[in-house]
């Protein structure tokens, strides 16, 4: 028995619209890749820092992650591949509450309302990645600590992630298991720069003032343990 809020219905309509738009990937009439990205990606992704007063509303209305600091965040190789074969990173969409329905068995994500990311040709993925890798805002926040992966027991690392740190409540460390409100982390190692992961865990709100992620006040050693786990998951 699904109950739909008016807000949800509105989101459904927007979702359908976005999907329709997504079917034509890059505008034919725009010339350079920069113009194409400005035209076709800005509907879901922030390409410039917007210093708005109401950051909470901005976060709630987001449809995709901001890209104006793409180069500070993502691994280039991963991006180029992902754009050609996009797999869902956030099981509950960019803002879970816009995709949540209340049922008799608890709240669930209504998959039908989730947006599909357009698939790019190899050539488009290459030029889009090259352009996005020039967007390096916030690079001064990247972690400066030296980090090199340590030998780790997979079982202990998994327990640390789920039980001791509680990350799994919001993030998946395997397909189909774990929370759905945050981005999955089983591809975090391939997807994200290590300097970004460390910096984001240490202080999420520096990257996004209204990040939904809590700052767990972890010392470097604990942050590195989590990164070791992502590495095991990614290999």
């Amino acid at each position: 028995m699904k109950k739909m809020t008016p807000q949800h219905r509105h989101k459904l309509a927007t979702g359908a619209l976005m999907l329709a738009m997504a079917s034509s990937v890059f505008s034919a009439n725009a010339t350079g890749i920069k113009e194409k990205i400005q035209q076709d990606c800005a509907g879901c992704h922030a390409l410039h820092e917007e210093k708005k007063d109401d950051q909470l509303t901005q976060r709630i209305n987001r449809k995709g992650p901001p890209l104006y600091y793409a180069a500070s965040k993502y691994q280039k190789e991963w991006m180029q591949n992902w754009l050609q074969d996009p797999q869902r990173i956030r099981p509950g969409g960019d803002y879970f509450a816009n995709h949540t329905v209340v049922t008799d068995e608890g709240d669930v994500i209504d998959d039908a309302t989730l947006l599909k990311h357009p698939r790019l040709s190899a050539a488009d993925a290459k030029s889009a990645t090259a352009y996005l890798m020039t967007l390096d805002s916030k690079k001064e926040l990247l972690d400066k600590q030296a980090y090199s992966a340590k030998k780790t027991s997979r079982r202990m690392a998994a327990m640390n992630f789920s039980k001791f740190k509680g990350c799994q409540a919001c993030h998946r460390d395997e397909e189909d298991y774990g929370g759905v409100s945050g981005p999955e982390l089983y591809t975090a190692h391939q997807r994200l720069r290590p300097e970004f992961i460390a910096s984001y865990i240490r202080d999420p709100q520096q990257w996004e003032p209204r990040s939904l992620m809590p700052n767990r006040h972890l010392p470097d050693k604990e942050i590195h343990k989590l990164m070791d786990y992502f590495k095991i998951l990614g290999e």
Partner: protein, 119 residues
């Protein structure tokens, strides 16, 4: 002079009431963004993340349980996390997501969730 004082009292009273309602409204928005993924859109503990969690998120509509906590208890649990009140680490600390005023607004909303008979 008396009338004047009475007027001021009424005005103060009115503004206190409207600020309270605004707080609850803002608290609700903050609750949806930061809490409902675990505690549920309706606050009953059945959020979208709850299914795979080892400890059930608290049911904030459980009047009996909720009235056994003071506002200060709730504030502390929210700001410093479950660990600070001898509860599960699966209840995170929200000290960097919200300032104290915002946490107070969330507490005000929790009181509506748990203990108002209006709905």
């Amino acid at each position: 002079m008396k009338i004047h004082t009475a007027l001021i009292t009424i005005m103060l009273g009115l503004s206190a009431v409207s600020a309270g309602a605004k707080d609850v409204e803002y608290g609700k928005q903050l609750y949806e963004a930061n809490c409902s993924q675990c505690h549920g859109m309706e606050g009953d503990g059945y959020g979208v993340n709850a299914e795979d969690m080892d400890v059930m998120p608290k049911d904030h509509t459980d009047t009996e349980e909720m009235i056994s906590r003071t506002d200060a208890d709730l504030f502390k649990a929210i700001k410093f996390g479950g660990k600070a009140v001898n509860k599960s680490v699966l209840m995170p600390n929200w000290d960097k997501n919200m300032n104290d005023d915002e946490i107070h607004a969330v507490v005000a909303y929790l009181r509506v969730l748990c203990c108002s008979n209006e709905e």
